[in-house]
Subunit: 224 residues, 2 copies
DNA sequence: TCCTTTTTGTTGTTATAACAACATACAAAC
DNA sequence: GTTTGTATGTTGTTATAACAACAAAAAGGA
């Protein structure tokens, strides 16, 4: 089987092909496809696999006791999920992992992650280093989500989120990876209230939009 | 100088004293005390140091453009902060780090963190491993904060937070590490509205409280 | 193409939180 | 003890979002 595609993932960055081969042999793997909206992991399950998105796209969501859904993150090809839980054996998953579209997922069994296979195996160590980079990056993503939801008004949340998107795209014209419902879940607000606020903001001349494509007007730039 | 105290920190777990000595020599350190409410790090600064709380207690907060403060985390003795930014050179700090009380902080220069000092120096590698554990743990903390603020009502947020605290303490009687204002900032709600909701919940027989000590009644247990 | 389904936007009503201003309680300093 | 300051609780008003129900638009399939 050809594992060339893994060379392009962040998890295996800087690890040569033969190193990847030996790591995979050491850990054990699985490859699986999921239809749109199917559950990849359920909240509550113990997790022994890191997931890597090969194609498609997934998201991490939390459903509380009242049925509110909130979206924590969105993960595209080449990226990794559930690594937190794989690093904390016994910690039950607090979130659901759901496919946004038909997606192919590669699973890496991590039971042996913290056992060094041979003393100071350099590939294993690079893998740990890569995992550190990934969790640090996720940390930033979670922090950002917190910042975007710290405003008490919908408008404030939208301005925080959209102006960050503009910054990241390096342009005031950009597309976002969410539809309205998902954006509402990400910002922890009601969808129809979100639509309503967006159209008010458009009336106020702050931005124009069409579906998930936005253009921020100069007025917004005062906000950072 | 005696660095024995570092043996008890998560960051240096499983590293023998002589290993710690050589790591410190490799990295460079600093030790400093901060008065109550003083800023340890300012948002916007580039960070080259991991901070370790030796005594006292600090918190991480975010202040948005409208002056809303939200608290992301609270860090006590033996624990580490700013490690995310130390791992991402160039990423400017998005938060303020503030001392809750007079605190002594140990700083570790991390410019050389990702350079292996000597090929496969085992202490260095254990340090990276420990850092991974720490960031993974922080990830869970951030996720939890998101869950506690995902409810749209103050009561829902309080129930989520308080029942988690009870679970963690293994008892329905427990103290929380926040005063009212900090709890309000952690849950992203108005302080007076929080006080109001708490006294309503007390009237409704869900809990009793006095200052930061809470007793949850059986009714609450339906919530998980 | 038409029909069906999904997504997005609109409106009105109601619940809830924010905000402001003040009262009370508690703690610290003198 | 008294004074000062800080933390917490209370009340009333206002702004805002949630919610529900529906309309319109877009997308996907037959």
């Amino acid at each position: 089987m050809d594992f060339q595609f893994l060379s392009d993932t962040i998890l295996f960055r800087e690890i040569p092909s033969d190193g990847i081969q030996s790591l995979l042999a050491c850990f054990g793997t699985e490859r699986k496809t999921f239809p749109k909206n199917s559950m990849i992991f359920h909240a509550g399950s113990p997790i022994h696999f890191i997931g890597i998105v090969l194609s498609g796209s997934i998201h991490i969501e939390h459903n509380d006791l009242w049925g509110n859904t909130s979206i924590l993150d969105r993960i595209g090809p080449g990226n990794v999920f559930a690594e937190i839980y794989a690093c904390m054996p016994g910690e039950p998953l607090m979130v659901d992992v759901v496919a946004d579209e038909p997606s192919e997922i590669f699973f890496l069994n991590t039971s042996r992650l913290f056992q060094v296979c041979t003393p100071s195996c350099p590939h294993h160590q690079q893998l740990i280093r890569n995992l550190l980079s990934i969790t640090v990056q996720k940390n930033l993503n979670l922090s950002r989500r917190i910042f975007h939801t710290s405003s008490k008004t919908i408008r404030g949340r939208l301005l925080s989120y959209l102006s960050f998107q503009a910054l990241q795209h390096g342009s005031s014209t950009f597309s976002i990876p969410f539809d309205r419902q998902q954006l509402a879940d990400y910002l922890s607000v009601d969808r129809s209230a979100l639509s309503h606020e967006l159209s008010k903001m458009q009336k106020d001349g702050l931005l124009t939009y069409r579906k998930n494509k936005f253009i921020l007007k100069d007025k917004v730039h005062r906000f950072h």
